[in-house]
Structures are given as C-alpha cells and as structure tokens.
Assembly symmetry: C2
Homo-oligomer: 306 residues x 2
Amino acid sequence: MSLLTVGTVAFDTIETPFGRAEKVIGGACTYISWAASYFTHNIHLISIVGDDFPATELAKLKARGVNMDGLRIVKGGKSFFWAGKYHNNMNSRDTLATELNVLADFDPVLPAAARSCKYVMLGNLTPAIQAGVLDQLDGTQRLVALDTMNFWMDTAMEDLKKVLQRVDLLTINDEEARQLSGEHSLVVAAATIHKMGPKYLIIKKGEHGALLFHGDEIFFAPALPLAQVFDPTGAGDTFAGGIMGYLAKTDDTDLENMKRAIIAGSAMASFCVEDFSLNKLQVLTESEISQRMQRFKRIMHFELVD
Amino acid sequence: MSLLTVGTVAFDTIETPFGRAEKVIGGACTYISWAASYFTHNIHLISIVGDDFPATELAKLKARGVNMDGLRIVKGGKSFFWAGKYHNNMNSRDTLATELNVLADFDPVLPAAARSCKYVMLGNLTPAIQAGVLDQLDGTQRLVALDTMNFWMDTAMEDLKKVLQRVDLLTINDEEARQLSGEHSLVVAAATIHKMGPKYLIIKKGEHGALLFHGDEIFFAPALPLAQVFDPTGAGDTFAGGIMGYLAKTDDTDLENMKRAIIAGSAMASFCVEDFSLNKLQVLTESEISQRMQRFKRIMHFELVD
C-alpha cells in the first residue's frame, strides 16, 4: 500500500560524547522515509529544501522507491538546519541552533498521486500545516498518523487539538502525553487522549521503550539494550517510519498487527542510534532487520506455566 | 523449597501527593517476606525490632508460614524508623528521617534450621552484615540473591565487591549499575558486573520496568502501567520477594524460569504500589496474582509473521 510522509528534510550538526557530525543529512521526513523504505517502495514524500541540499541524497531516496514529486526545491534557498549537543547520558540535549530557512514558507501541496495514499505519516510540524495536508487527501485513507511535540502544545494547542480529531494514531513522548492530557498517569492520559481523536496512542519513552494504548489494551515494546548508543537524533522519526512502513506493507491496522509494526519501528530505531545521521539506516539488509525483530521476541518472550 | 530472608523490619512515615501514612509497617524484610509468602510457606525471616513493634503484625507473618525464630526482639528497644516524602512525579523522594535504633546493633544469628535454606534473599544492609549471613549458611544453597544501594557503593565498595563474589543474583537500579560498573551502557555494565560474581543481574528501573541479564541473554519486563501509583515504598523489595518466592516454589533457576519469576515479582510490585504500606499485599488472593501475571503476558506478547 502507498505511504505519504510529510515533514522536514534538513541538515543537522550533532555533538555527542562520542564525536561530532557537521552538517549531515537529517530531518523527520528523511528518517521516516528511509525507515519505511525497507518495508514498502510506494512512498510519496512531501517536503521543502533549498538548492543547497545534495542531489545525491535525493537520488538515493528515489532509488528506494520514494516519489519526490512533492518535494519543493527552492532556488537560492537554504535548507532547514538544526544543531544540537547531547549530554553524557544521551537522554537530554541542548539545541544550539535552529534555522528555519525555506521551512518558514512550507505550504505543502500534494501532487494528485499523493492524495490517495492509504497510509499517512504527518511528521512533527505546525499543526495548521498538518491540517492543511489532511485537507488535500481524498478521504480513502486507512490510517493517518501524526507526530508532534511540546512546542506546539505551548504555542498552538487549539490547532493541535483540532487536527488530532482527524488522526488515527498519535506518537508523542511521556512528558508530552502528560502535558496534552493534564494527567500524570500514562494510563489515564491515554484514555483522555483517545477521546481527543486518536484511537491508537504510542507513547515514546526513549531508552525505556514505547507503550501502545488502544481502548483498554496496552502493549509495551522495550528499546533494544545496546552496548553503545552513538547518536539518538532521528530515533523517534525512524521508529515512526518503521511503524508506518510496516503498516503500509501489511495493510492491517488491527491491534495484533500494530504490535508487530511497533516492533518493526523499534528495530529500525535501534539501528538508527548506532551511528550518526543515516549512516546505518542507508545500508541495512532485510535479513538484518528481520533478525533484529526476532531479538525483540527473545527479549520479551516468556511462557507462564500451571 | 525453603527461603531465607534477611533485612529490616521497620516503621515508615510516608508522604505522597495522595496522602500521608504515619508510622506504618515497613522494612525490606517485611515486604520481601509478604510477597514471597504468596508462593511458598517455608520462609525463615532474620531481622531485629524493638518491643515497640506490634505483635499482631508478627503474628500475621507467622500465620503465612514465616518462621520468626531468627527475629530478635530487643526489650526496651525502638524499631528502625524511616520517613520520606515523594515528589509529584513519584519517581524521586526526600528522606526526612532515618533512625537506626536497634538496627545499629543488628548482628544476625541464624537458627540451625535457617542455615540450610535453599534460597536466600539478602535485603539491602551493610555488605559486611550480608557477608556475615553467608558465613553461617551450610553451603547447600541453590541461589543467593543480594539487594544493595548506592549508599554502600559510596561508603563500603570493597566490602560490597567481596560479598558480590559469593552471590548468584544481584538486584540494583540503573544508576547503581552504572556506579558499580563505571559503565554508562547497561549492556556493558551487566557484562562487568557478571565478572564481579553474580551470574544473574536484575536492573530495576522503577516505572520503566526491569532488565534481567544472564551471559549474553537479556529479558525485559515492563512495570504494569497503572491508573494510579499510590505509594512506591517497598516496591523494589516486593519485586525481589515475588521473584524469590517464585523461585523457592518452583526450585528452578534456569533462565526461562527466571523470566517467570521476574514476572511474578513485577506482578507483586504492581500490587504493592496501589496502596500505602502492606495494605494491599496483606489481602491478595492467588487468583488475583495469577490474573495479574497473565496481564503481563498480554502486554508483552506478540507474534511475528512471514
């Protein structure tokens, strides 16, 4: 099935305790599309870059089945740029620079072929822009997912709540779930957020894994314990990309398949953090991915007796 | 099989955002023994209290099959007392008072019958006292578990390392695992700690669950997501008690059974936090416990296809 991905395609400069990566490829839509491309080759990417963005990188995405007709390349424009520095524990980071550049004028226009994509992943963007994308869809979608962050809760909560009514799956972190719902317990927060629209809620907890809430059902996937987390940048987007790619591939949004999708997303995220930028995500094989999904099975599986 | 539990039997005064409990029953050994008593009725408790400790509470433990011959009751003495206040997120707390009282003279002497217990749970105590207990065992033990904390790493690291060489299972939290090993990655920390002695390592992460490390194998159990965490006091000891009770019941220390034991411990801990003190732990039924273990199965279970 077809997958629509909307979000940033950007440059990142990243400092971690293990090294520094200068002006490397980043952006939510980039990570989402790369992760999803291991599950489906029918992806429509919607984003905006300046003509400083390397054509070779766009060609690589195209070669993986990503349709780039919805990518606007602004002549003489500069691509979105983010710089950040991770602290020693890798769980917190400081933003050193955010240069919107061409992103300030991002007003996504969907090519005709993109409007009927059955699966839609709205990367973290202004809620009004996310809503603008939904306005252009043809209404035949099977599942619409949205990622957002505390910044939009602080500055555009009403817009966010409006777009949430139109969304099937929301991905946010634990503190954002608490802020959005006003509830400390994630169980109570999930019930509150379900009422806002999304029937599936995924709460991301970074190194502590992710929780899926659906009605009264809960599923938990740990993050894969790794000998070294090299760079967490893009892990959340890669996680979402793996989920949406898996859903587009299997075309099944029932709970049992959603669980598998989250394992697929967790596996992709575990690769993402093992190197800077897309270094690892660009060179994976299907067999590596399936072996890693099996590792999650081993880590989580137990049998009750009696 | 028989289980030996060693640790504090105490009074706690606890303040949480949900209320206050004044001088209620607490202590690691109390929580461990109560949790274990739902799995085995062959428990030997080793501790010390003053004669201010209510005889009714001791009688309740006895009624659950806990042999109290190793409990020293000091005439005119006051029992160990701890007071703490939890912050809004329930993940951090301030200690408001620690009165060692009779615990200052705790020099455990094991009655003959306790020396051959096949499973041993050394609650958090001075490492030298934990070693003193091991000295009195008859050498026929199947598994010795030890709980400790950062305080002993700060003040008695050499003693702690010595006793760890004699232990099969160590339970500590994630920060303590990092402190003990000097490694940030829990995977690398676990490998380092295995070399110190314990072939099983359980890293407790509170609301984020627990990791079991055994050689190259990893098992992860989430904490049960709850609508309300009322009071986390004793959750770690209850977790350990559930594990050790389950092991004593099943007498099987293979990895697959260790996984079940951790689920048993996680189930018991999830009950513990639902009320102050032992309020919930004293009134459980076997069917409630087995249903809760099944809930962990539902939260963690998935099937891979292809």
